[in-house]
């Protein structure tokens, strides 16, 4: 067996599949293609892939149904290919257990970044790395310290909780609800305003230009994403 990461791609459109197979193969992934939900489930069982990429619109079942079925017995990272039709369906499929999504049309770089983040998270799920780095930001999870360009940045306890929740899913989307649960541990709709304010404060402390965030980006209507930037 090779040491290449194995990806099961469930997509019924032949052109899309050709593009995904070719692109992923060119970037060193071992691709197993499935044209239907049933084939996809079989391939996931058989191959125990490192990552699953699922199109939401499949001929025999809804992509979100496939996500739910997979989640019954597997923690394999699932990335959903969705179309731009409002944030509601994205949140729904994330709630069912999908780890992330890309919106069609997407460029290959975007999908590869999602796959890398998912793999990274899977490897770390046994215990997060004690030190997180992205761009000029460093988060020391052991000593609860945040540094920017080597200088310590003072953050409040809530801001730190928020940052930690984002770091633990670095590179992946984190929904508003997940963040609210992580910080306040309770569900209250009005808190979303506080969430936005805390995100704003973190940006002012960590971003070069808070009005054009590169580190903590917004997923409109869904949540936030902490990007992993090269130095």
């Amino acid at each position: 067996m090779s040491d290449r990461h194995c990806v099961v791609v469930v997509e019924d459109d032949p052109q899309m599949m050709r593009f995904l197979e070719t692109g992923l193969d060119a970037h060193g992934y071992l691709v197993h293609a499935a044209g239907t939900g049933r084939e996809g489930l079989a391939a996931i069982t058989r191959e125990s892939p490192d990552v699953v990429v699922v199109d939401l619109g499949l001929p025999d079942m809804d992509g979100s149904e496939l996500v739910a079925r997979v989640r019954e017995w597997s923690r394999v990272p699932v990335i959903v290919l969705s179309v731009r039709d409002g944030a509601g369906s994205k949140i729904a499929v994330l709630d069912l257990g999908a780890d992330d999504y890309v919106t069609k049309p997407f460029d290959m770089g975007e999908l590869l970044a999602r796959i890398r983040a998912a793999l990274r998270n899977r490897i770390q799920s046994g215990g997060a790395a004690p030190l997180f780095r992205s761009g000029d930001i460093e988060v020391d999870l052991v000593r609860r310290l945040v540094r920017r360009r080597g200088e310590e940045v003072r953050v409040s306890p809530r801001e730190y909780d928020l940052l930690k929740a984002l770091v633990s899913h670095a590179g992946m989307v984190v929904t508003h609800q997940m963040l609210l649960d992580a910080i306040w541990g309770e569900r209250q709709a009005d808190y979303i305003n506080y969430l936005r304010i805390f995100i704003g404060r973190l940006r002012h402390k960590l971003e070069g230009d808070p009005s054009r965030p590169r580190l903590i980006t917004t997923e409109p209507g869904v949540g936030y994403r902490l990007r992993i930037l090269s130095e």
Binding site: P105, P157, I197, R212
Partner: protein, 456 residues
């Protein structure tokens, strides 16, 4: 309420009886001619209170009673002397004439009171049905109102067929009244007709308004559809043409391309596809707007977050422009649908990048007033004359010749989304700065949740 007819006659007779009593009691103190005056009072009183017929009845009975009781021969009808005959004649004439005059005045007053009442009923009915919104509401209001007037349940049928009391206008029958029992006979026929006519006219007006609205919608839909078709033909095919052309060139065996040429062709394919994607997005938004499916889901939104997300989405398009973001510190949060307003900003920024001068300035500025927040997207693009600005927001409208590509959908979508969010959008030429501003105005929420205690 006025007493019924027979009751009024009875009252007239009673008044004569009372006069008789008084006349008998006065006995020898008054002579028979004087007693006539007592009867006259009773007759006049009847005329005043009960109208002509009871008054005449009173007059006749008074004359007979007086003649019977007080003129010689007493307790028999007949006249004894010439002077009695004269007195009798004068009494009879006076009784008839004065009761007639007084009663006419009385009836006149009654009639005008009734007319006044009718007018009041018609006025109130007219006022009530004029305030109706739509046919259903009109029918409900008319039914309630007529129910009050007739004192019985009434159904208004706004349909030209069927039975019942007809509702007609000059253009024919528009409906009918169904009244329970004999309530219709209880009110004046003229009043009933007037009411029926009033309601009929209102129904007709409501129908015409409805038809006109439908016609307007039809025309607008028709216009949108044909504009959409011609737009699809042009705006879909142009980028598709580039994709097909560039990719088939790359696949052709005969041609040999330099790396640079290959890159340019691939870039063409990518940009055309992105343009198609934007266009499809706009068409979808437009369809949602046209079908009335724009339901904003308002949420507390931080302006910096909003601007950041929009800039992130248009990042590749902004290449080759100088971007300046000026946000006032501590802007209050907005209560809007994040995704919707982000689409508005993305559309404006894409326009700014497309129409703005190469290497020109694009500026996003936000400032809060006492009860509004203003977002301004400025670009150094061609100026649109002041009087043309409003038309920029019409679907499929393209300003002057400089605005060649694009379907002219973006701004109409922006306006619809802003309207759905309770805000406004305006285009403002800024000749001194050499460019166009698109200004978004949002009302500020009165109640903003505060942060105290949450950061513990």
């Amino acid at each position: 309420m006025a007493p019924s007819t027979s009751l009024r006659h009875l009252w007239a007779l009673l008044s004569v009886l009372a006069a008789t009593g008084v006349a008998v009691l006065t006995g020898p103190y008054l002579n028979p001619t004087d007693k006539m005056l007592i009867y006259l009072v009773a007759v006049l009183w009847s005329a005043l209170r009960f109208g002509l017929r009871p008054a005449l009845l009173a007059a006749v009975t008074a004359i007979l009673a007086h003649n019977f009781l007080f003129f010689e021969p007493r307790f028999a009808f007949g006249l004894h002397s010439a002077s009695d005959a004269v007195a009798f004649g004068v009494f009879a004439t006076t009784a008839f004439v004065t009761s007639g005059l007084v009663a006419r005045a009385h009836d006149e007053a009654e009639r005008s009171r009734a007319r006044e009442l009718e007018l009041a009923i018609l006025y109130r009915t007219g006022e009530e049905i004029a305030s109706s919104t739509g046919l259903g509401d009109l029918v409900a209001k008319a039914e309630r109102r007529l129910g009050q007037v007739l004192g019985a349940p009434v159904r208004v049928i706004a349909d030209s067929g069927g039975e019942g009391f007809p509702l007609c206008t000059a253009n024919g029958r528009v409906g009918a009244l169904l009244v329970e029992g004999d309530a219709v006979s209880r009110i004046d026929e003229g009043l009933l007709h007037a009411l029926a006519r009033q309601i009929a006219v209102a129904i007709e007006r409501e129908r015409l308004r409805h038809e006109m609205e439908e016609a307007t919608v039809r025309v607008r839909t028709e216009r949108t559809r044909s504009a959409l078709l011609s737009s699809v033909a042009h705006d879909f095919r142009t980028p598709l043409g580039s994709v097909v052309g560039a990719s088939s060139s790359l696949l052709s065996r005969e041609a040999s391309f330099t790396d640079e040429a290959r890159r340019r062709l691939l870039q063409t394919i990518l940009e055309s596809a992105q343009r198609l994607d934007r266009y499809v997005g706009n068409i979808l938004d437009l369809t949602r707007i046209e079908s009335g499916a724009v339901e904003p889901r308002p949420d507390w939104v931080d302006v910096e977050d909003l601007v950041g997300a929009a800039l992130d989405a248009v990042d590749p398009v902004l290449d080759g422009h100088r971007l300046v973001v000026r946000l006032e510190p501590d802007l209050p949060p907005l209560r809007v649908d994040f995704v919707m307003i982000e689409r508005v900003l993305v559309n404006l920024l894409e326009n700014a990048a497309r129409f703005g001068r190469r290497d020109g300035l694009i500026e996003v500025a936000a400032a809060a007033g006492p009860d509004t927040l203003v977002l301004d997207v400025f670009d150094e693009g061609p100026l649109v004359p002041e009087d043309e600005c409003e038309r920029l927001f019409l679907a499929f409208y393209r300003a002057s010749r400089e605005y060649r590509d694009g379907a002219g959908l973006g701004l109409s979508i922006c306006r619809a989304f802003m309207a759905a969010s309770g805000g406004a959008i305006e285009a403002r030429p800024r000749p001194r700065r050499g460019g166009m501003s698109f200004v978004l105005t949002f009302p500020l929420a009165e109640r903003v949740p505060n942060l105290e205690g949450l950061d513990e």
